[in-house]
């Protein structure tokens, strides 16, 4: 946990500054998801939003392979490649991004202060958020400016503050992750380092969260950071729920599941699809079918 204390945090600033001044590229290498970015583009037509969406999606993919490693680049980066199907091909990243982005329908009252707090913490480090997000300097000088520019007062996707939290943690746990393959520092981490980030969020003394908390506006100090602690907990269990469910193959109009979901094959669930019953009745324990009220 030492790597998350404030002294280490500030010491690392010079290291980040060196990376940035050396002109290391921030690739944003991930091709944008057609569905999500297409939808976003229809609303804004913004290249900035594309970059933000791609960054968040890549981070969520890095999260998904923590609970379901597969034969993909994110699993390889994590150090757990497998040959059996994984979450990338069934849209796990898109699912988690959508889950966070629709969690709050109340506008940007929560996500904006969180982003401001993270922005302040990154500013303390001397990290310019433009390069961090793969954006041009005018667009990305500060995360809060990006948010203000892109989203104005509209509902703000919570996936971005969550992704920023994970990536801030990633840069603290493994500074070289600031550059490399894939589209976000968190996705470049090994499984061990990813879990060090989560440890920093959810531990009994959540130091990563407390750093961000100190930069929040007063009314939300302690409150928004509490929410981040919750978010830290939900990251893995929510992801596990999503990627092991039928979400990718469910048609809400016909209420059918087609084709057969990958996780059902992996776990041997419902070989004949969803049915209304099973021949599973064995009878009654010792033939006890009722307990009299006065027994």
């Amino acid at each position: 946990m030492e790597h998350f204390n404030r002294r280490t945090f500030l010491t690392r600033a010079s290291m980040f500054g060196a990376f940035v001044s050396a002109g290391i590229a921030f690739p944003g290498a991930l091709p944008p998801s057609p569905g999500l970015v297409g939808r976003a583009n229809a609303q804004t037509g913004s290249a900035v939003l594309d970059a933000v969406e791609a960054f968040s999606l890549d981070t969520m993919r890095g999260l998904c392979v923590m609970v379901m490693p597969g034969p993909d680049e994110w699993s390889r980066q994590q150090g757990t490649p497998r040959t059996d199907p994984g979450p990338i091909e069934v849209g796990g990243g898109e699912f988690m991004k959508d889950l966070f982005d629709n969690y709050l329908g109340m506008g940007d009252q929560l996500a904006r202060p969180l982003a401001l707090g993270i922005a302040q913490a990154l500013a303390d480090l001397g990290i310019q958020t433009g390069p961090f997000l793969g954006l041009s300097e005018p667009d990305g000088r500060r995360i809060d400016q990006v948010l203000g520019y892109v989203y104005s007062d509209r509902v703000l996707p919570l996936s971005l503050p969550v992704a920023l939290l994970l990536n801030t943690g990633a840069l603290l746990a493994a500074p070289p992750a600031i550059a490399g393959p894939l589209g976000s520092p968190f996705s470049r981490l090994s499984m061990v380092d990813k879990l060090r980030v989560l440890e920093g969020i959810e531990g009994p003394v959540p130091q990563l969260v407390s750093i961000i908390d100190g930069a929040l506006p007063v009314p939300l100090r302690g409150t928004a950071s509490g929410f981040l602690r919750f978010a830290g907990g939900i990251l893995l269990e929510g992801t596990a729920f999503g990627v092991y469910s039928e979400q990718h193959n469910y048609n809400p109009v016909t209420r059918t599941v087609e084709p057969r979901p990958v996780p059902w094959d992996l776990t041997g669930y419902r070989p004949d699809g969803l049915v209304d019953g099973h021949p599973e009745l064995l009878g009654y324990y010792q033939n006890r079918t009722e307990v009299p009220a006065d027994a």
Partner: protein, 591 residues
């Protein structure tokens, strides 16, 4: 002016409403969430479709699934499985209906009396509650669970471990037994086939062993609503209340308005007393605001929403106990992997239990892959083999406690969903004032300040901590005795399903909100009839039956106190909610 307005159609509200409608009172029931009148065409057996917290049909939100869910603030690593809609949380419960431990009531004199939460007892005796338990057991009805493979394995573990069999409804000793469930026993083809064409009513009756309790029950297909297998209140007390005029002489059907969120309980000062006068609510679809007066208001929004509404209504809180004392059975989760078939995903989801008076209980739980993976990924002990959050204890399970990640999780899941067996540890969780619900500082939604839920895994009494460790060890040992080749302990972070006592009744006015009649101590004509009214966590048994028995008693108290009526539980016979007169009336109503 109504006689009674009931706020919330979850596990408790419809009980009060149906009982008082049966006595001829004019009752209005307001429910913030949807009324899914035909679940066979509105629901599915799919896990994400049902339980996605944003847009699942069993979420906490308005009827229109394209609209956002309602926000609640959670302060730490936890998950609150709260849902709105007619039936409330009983829409997705397992129907488990054990009686409470006698030791958590005033006047208990057993040798183990000191083992319970003696600072927060029910303000009346267990014997006084028994007639109400029997009344509800007959109304729903409660039946002894049938057995599938996962139950047979559980019973084998109990036998090998040396636990005796409990043969009475009352909990008297450390023992195991089939669950007493609010689920109709299988009849006809039910439990004997997976051919859906053979599983329609009436060729199949009762539980079809579909394995989807958590996705809500609409089995057998084509059964009248009041004869669906699981006796959630949308299948039992709501049909009973809507048919009150058909089943009781002088009865009067209650009116039910769904998608109608109560924003405030209106009240005024009358001499030294605050008195409830009615409610204000908002139609979620149109945004219209309505008000109506009532002689009595019954608050039954649930352990989270009842305190929220109290705060947002500006009602008095002189001892600062509104929202406090929130208990949740301090769950833990033990999973066994087997070489043999376990039937994990099939059958009623929980049909075997073990009780340990003074400590808590254990029940088996069957799951599909999504919630199974969720359950294996929830922990306050970090990730097995990586970090522990200062916990990660060891014991009769394999390796340290903690969530499974990466290849370990995937390999376990790929071992087969039907090769796993789950035990839920349900702790006798003593009331702790610091676990509470308060108004959130986050921006208000259209219904006022949202609730902030602050229930810490670590903020428990020493006895609660001891109880949980005792229980989880027993769970792991019984799992091993059942034949598990490997046993995992999760050390779950708070997963709020069994929530109680956040508006508790009690013996003392120093640490309770309700008096022994379930009337608010400082607001006359306002009663509470959901889990929040419970005095404590019942010693571990699942709370729904006790809430419903208490709600029946509360209905009698209301009728006696404000309508000059007589109690009925000792005088009459209950109407069973599967009664064909109810089926006929529901058909007339198109429900």
């Amino acid at each position: 002016m109504r006689d009674v307005i009931v706020i919330g159609a979850g596990g408790g509200g419809p009980v009060v409403a149906a009982e008082l409608a049966g006595r001829g009172l004019d009752v209005l029931v307001l429910e913030g969430g949807p009324r899914q009148a035909d679940p066979s065409t509105e629901w599915s057996h799919a896990e994400n479709d049902a339980n996605n917290p944003n847009n699942g049909f069993l979420r906490f939100g308005p009827e229109d699934r394209s609209k956002p869910a309602w926000f609640r603030e959670w302060t730490t690593n936890m998950f609150v499985w709260q849902l709105s809609g007619v039936g409330g949380t009983t829409q997705h419960y397992y129907g488990n209906s054990p009686r409470p431990m006698p030791g958590v009531f005033r006047g208990y004199t057993g040798a183990d009396a000191a083992e319970y939460d003696t600072g927060h007892l029910f303000p009346f005796t267990y014997d006084e509650l028994v007639p109400y338990l029997e009344w509800v057991e007959a109304t729903l009805p409660i039946e002894t669970a049938a057995m599938g493979t996962k139950e047979a394995l559980t019973f084998r573990g109990c036998e090998n471990y040396g636990l005796p069999l409990q043969t009475s409804r009352n909990i008297t000793r450390n023992a195991f037994r089939p669950q007493q469930n609010a689920i109709l026993q299988p009849g006809g083809n039910a439990g004997r086939t997976d051919d859906s064409t053979l599983l329609t009513f009436p060729q199949a009756t009762g539980c079809t062993f579909c394995g989807h309790c958590f996705q809500g029950c609409y089995m057998p297909r084509q059964a009248p609503r009041n004869q669906f297998a699981k006796r959630s209140t949308d299948n039992s007390y709501v049909p009973l209340g809507l048919s009150a005029d058909a089943v009781r002489p002088g009865g009067r059907a209650f009116e039910l308005l769904a998608d109608s969120f109560v924003q405030s309980i209106r009240h005024e000062q009358e001499g030294p007393h605050t008195v409830a006068r009615g409610v204000t609510w908002r139609n979620n679809a149109t945004g219209e605001i309505f008000t109506e007066d009532a002689r009595v208001v019954v608050l039954a929004g649930g352990a989270t929403e009842s305190p929220r509404l109290w705060f947002n209504s500006g009602l008095p809180n002189p001892n600062d106990w509104v929202g406090r004392g929130h208990t949740d059975h301090f769950f833990d989760w033990v999973v066994g992997s087997f070489d043999e078939y376990t039937g994990n995903s099939k059958g009623a989801n929980s049909s075997a239990r073990m009780d340990f008076p003074g400590r808590g209980g254990i029940e088996n739980v069957g799951l599909g892959p999504a919630i199974q993976a969720f359950s294996l990924s929830l922990s306050d002990s970090g990730a097995r083999g990586y970090y522990t959050n200062g916990r990660g204890s060891t014991g009769p399970w394999d390796g340290p406690a903690g969530r499974l990640v990466g290849n370990e999780l995937k390999d376990l899941m790929m071992g087969g969903i039907d090769n796993l067996l789950n035990f839920l540890v349900i702790t006798d969780d003593h009331v702790e004032a610091g676990n509470r619900v308060t108004p959130s500082l986050f921006p208000a939604d259209e219904n006022g300040a949202p609730a902030k839920i602050d229930v810490s895994l670590r903020r428990r009494t020493p006895r609660t901590l001891e109880n949980r460790e005792f229980m989880v060890r027993r769970a792991a040992e019984i799992m091993r005795a059942a034949g598990a080749k490997k046993v995992y302990r999760m050390d779950w972070a708070p997963l709020l399903l069994h929530v109680h006592s956040s508006m508790r009744m009690g013996e003392s006015d120093q640490n309770s909100v309700l008096d022994s009649n379930a009337e608010a101590r400082w607001v006359k004509r306002l009663f509470i009839a959901d889990n929040s009214a419970l005095a404590n966590s019942l010693g571990g048994p699942n709370p729904t039956l006790t809430t419903q028995a208490l709600a029946t008693r509360t209905a009698e108290k209301i009728f006696q106190t404000y309508f000059d009526g007589d109690p009925w539980v000792d005088e009459e016979a209950p109407v069973v909610s599967t009664d064909p007169r109810i089926s006929a009336r529901m058909q007339q109503l198109g429900l």
